[in-house]
């Protein structure tokens, strides 16, 4: 199973220090860079950093953080997760990720998405009622830019381009680009239409619910005559030395952030029993290394995905616990998953 990739994802959650005090956004960013350095040392394949515009998260510009990681790492691939393309400019996004690619000697990738939050729309002056149109138009332009040839383009939501050359080009001639999808069939079909790899956000319920999306992706790609790439999935979780410790460390900060976001989306407050059920049967990968490894192996096997990314931060967790989670994921969980799947 050497073609299987394992990643870590984070939204740049602001952690707490040993005294329980929330650290500054600046310190949270440096902490994230340190965790990336550790991930690189222990052979984790990829780190994906999300874009958010909310107080809980320190990262609003993933590529500037990824660049800070690039010069301190050697092997780790550097990804966004996701770049909210709808409220960004495809030209700038390309320039910035191509620069990360150069800085990292070809380790950059971008995961484009529409975002599950909507703060970026008013912030950058976009209308939420253009949600679909924005993404459709911008991904079309982005895919054109990926050819790395002069682009002539016209749309309704951005200034036209006339034989525009966009710099710097990548050395490989190809900036790896995925599309992150939360559960919308048209998004899956669109990804297949462009022949781009698909990253599924599996953040609740049984992972097998997503099997139809993977099937749809493959069928759509066959119909369009594009190539269907190995599908990736990302899900939240946390690793500690024991199952109990993992749950006890994760629950308090998770509960706060889950309820804060839930309140915006009309969800009732989460109960401990739901949390436990999500760990047992759903999409929370929480526990000792062996527990998490078994669960990942099952999901990977059932869905036939080629990449699993663990969203390892959730709210104001202690820095030391986060570092330990990264270490255990890289040194224990990943080798165990590979063993299970090979056996």
């Amino acid at each position: 199973m050497s073609d299987l990739d394992f990643g870590l994802d984070t939204f740049g959650d602001v952690p707490v220090d040993d005294s329980g005090a929330q650290v500054s956004h600046a310190r949270a960013i440096r902490q994230l860079v340190d965790e990336a350095v550790l991930a690189d040392e222990i052979g984790i394949d990829v780190l994906a950093v999300g874009e958010h515009h909310r107080p809980e998260y320190a990262v609003s510009t993933p590529e500037t953080v990824l660049a800070g990681i690039a010069t301190r790492t050697r092997r780790l691939r550097l990804s966004s997760g996701v770049t909210v393309l709808s409220s960004d400019d495809p030209v700038r996004v390309f320039q910035r990720f191509a620069t990360v690619d150069a800085l990292s000697n070809g380790r950059a990738e971008v995961i484009l998405g529409r975002g599950s939050f909507t703060e970026s729309f008013p912030l950058f002056g976009y209308d939420l009622s253009d949600y679909d149109k924005l993404f459709e138009e911008k991904i079309e332009l982005f895919v054109r830019l990926l050819d790395e040839k002069p682009v002539t383009w016209e749309g309704t939501l951005r200034a036209p381009l006339e034989a525009a050359e966009v710099f710097p080009p990548t050395e490989s001639g190809h900036l790896p680009t995925w599309v992150g999808v939360g559960g919308s069939p048209p998004s899956v079909v669109r990804t297949a239409r462009y022949g781009l790899p698909l990253m599924l956000a599996v953040i609740g319920g049984s992972p097998t619910r997503f099997a139809p999306y993977i099937d749809l992706y493959r069928r759509a790609a066959a119909q369009f005559g594009t190539s269907a790439h190995p599908v990736g999935m990302h899900s939240p979780g946390f690793v500690a030395d024991t199952d109990e410790e993992a749950r006890e460390v994760y629950w308090p900060s998770y509960r706060i952030i889950r309820d804060r976001i839930g309140a915006l989306r009309g969800w009732p407050p989460i109960r401990r029993a739901e949390f436990e059920a999500e760990i047992e049967h759903g999409s929370l990968y929480i526990g000792a290394p062996e527990t998490v490894a078994r669960k990942i192996a099952r999901a990977v096997d059932e869905l036939g995905v080629g990449r699993f990314d663990l969203i390892y931060t959730a709210g104001a967790q202690p820095i030391s616990a986060r570092l330990r989670a990264v270490e255990l994921y890289g040194t224990k969980v990943i080798p165990m998953v590979r063993d299970i799947l090979a056996g």
């Binding site: 956004h25 960013i29 030209v91 910035r96 191509a98 990360v100 150069a102 912030l123 950058f124 710097p168």
Partner: protein, 349 residues
């Protein structure tokens, strides 16, 4: 002279280098910049800045991304821009970028914002060059409010309004050092003074002393606006080599085609050796041996009341060894020599 130590910066426009005659590709040049910034730090220079250009042969389209990578590869050197084209950027994105850079670098971020002499970014990002002045004015106002206020409610003509917006990551209180880069427009000088922001003079042709009237205007405008003194810096092109002859001959080879290209584009006379010599001897080119360049910087610093000098050291296809030697000599010989000359002078006053 002011008591503060004289600041030396290196400026890059992300211009592609050559190595033993081979033109580096853009990716290699990006990585060379990281190496050169480390070198600049090692030889004691104070600031490393990159520009923002959207044309072949330049790799600086994403300055804050470049600087963030440099931040992780260095410990002490400050990281800035030369310049950020504020007119065609979104101040909100700039805030995100530079507060992130300030975080990654542990407080070493700074900015020089300007209107740019090249206009490539206007059509690329859908701006009208005829709004040149208004764009800058409006965006500067927003950028400074975002840096100086915690929660911003704002509306303008060129961007969506903001309502009690708090940007993240939070920046250090008061914001990062933000300079205004000016090419020669008195309006820009007065604007910098109005905001109480330090002034970076882009002296790229003719006698630097021509800018004395701008300096005078700036200082009067600062007083009028009720601000105290602010630092004044100069950005100029130049090259340091072991001897005057070597420096002049090497730089000519690479400067000439670049200026000839600009001459075609902007409609002025192509460069001649005589004009070039004149620029070196009395004008805006800081090309020569360490002693020659140091004397010239010290003289200009005195005449313009500078506390900072930034040398733009890269030019299209200049060999990487020559770039490295120039950085080396600037840090190890020119900078100490200038400081020594300025100290001597202040003792005589």
């Amino acid at each position: 002279m002011t008591a503060a130590p004289f600041t030396f910066g290196l400026n890059s426009f992300g211009e592609v280098a050559t190595d033993a005659g081979r033109v580096l590709d853009d990716g290699e040049t990006v990585r060379l910049l990281v190496e050169e910034a480390r070198h600049a730090e090692a030889v004691g220079l104070d600031v490393f800045s990159v520009g923002e250009h959207y044309r072949p042969g330049h790799v600086d389209t994403a300055a804050p991304v470049l600087l963030s990578a440099i931040a992780s590869a260095t410990r002490r050197i400050r990281l800035g821009t030369s310049v950020t084209v504020l007119s065609t950027n979104d101040p909100v994105r700039l805030f995100h970028d530079f507060s992130t850079l300030d975080a990654v670098s542990n407080g070493r971020a700074q900015l020089v914002v300007g209107r740019a002499s090249a206009t490539d970014s206007f059509p690329l990002f859908g701006y009208d060059v005829s709004d040149y002045e208004e764009l800058f004015e409006e965006k500067l106002e927003l950028l400074m409010r975002l840096q100086r206020e915690e929660s911003v409610t704002w509306s303008g003509a060129f961007r969506a309004p903001l309502s009690e917006q708090r940007l993240r990551p939070r920046m250090r209180p008061g914001g990062i050092p933000t300079w205004i880069g000016v090419g020669g427009s008195p309006n820009s000088v007065v604007r910098a003074a109005r905001y109480g922001l330090p002034l970076m003079l882009a002296v790229i042709g003719g006698r630097p002393q021509r800018f004395a009237r701008h300096v005078d205007l700036y200082q009067r405008a600062l007083r009028q606006a009720g601000h105290g003194a602010r630092p004044i810096g100069q950005h100029s092109l130049g090259f340091v080599a072991d001897t005057d002859a070597e420096a002049a001959e090497t730089w000519w080879e690479y400067w000439k085609p670049v200026v000839a290209g600009l001459a075609r584009e902007r409609g002025f006379y192509p460069p001649t050796w005589d004009v070039y010599r004149e620029e070196i001897d009395h004008g805006a080119l800081f090309v020569g041996s360490p002693d020659t360049v140091a004397r010239k910087i010290a003289t200009t610093a005195h005449d313009l009341n500078l506390s900072r000098f930034d040398l733009k050291y890269d030019i299209m296809h200049l060999p990487r060894e020559a770039r490295a030697r120039s950085i080396e000599l600037l840090g190890s010989e020119v900078a100490p020599r200038v400081r020594e000359l300025l100290t001597k002078e202040s003792r005589h006053v």
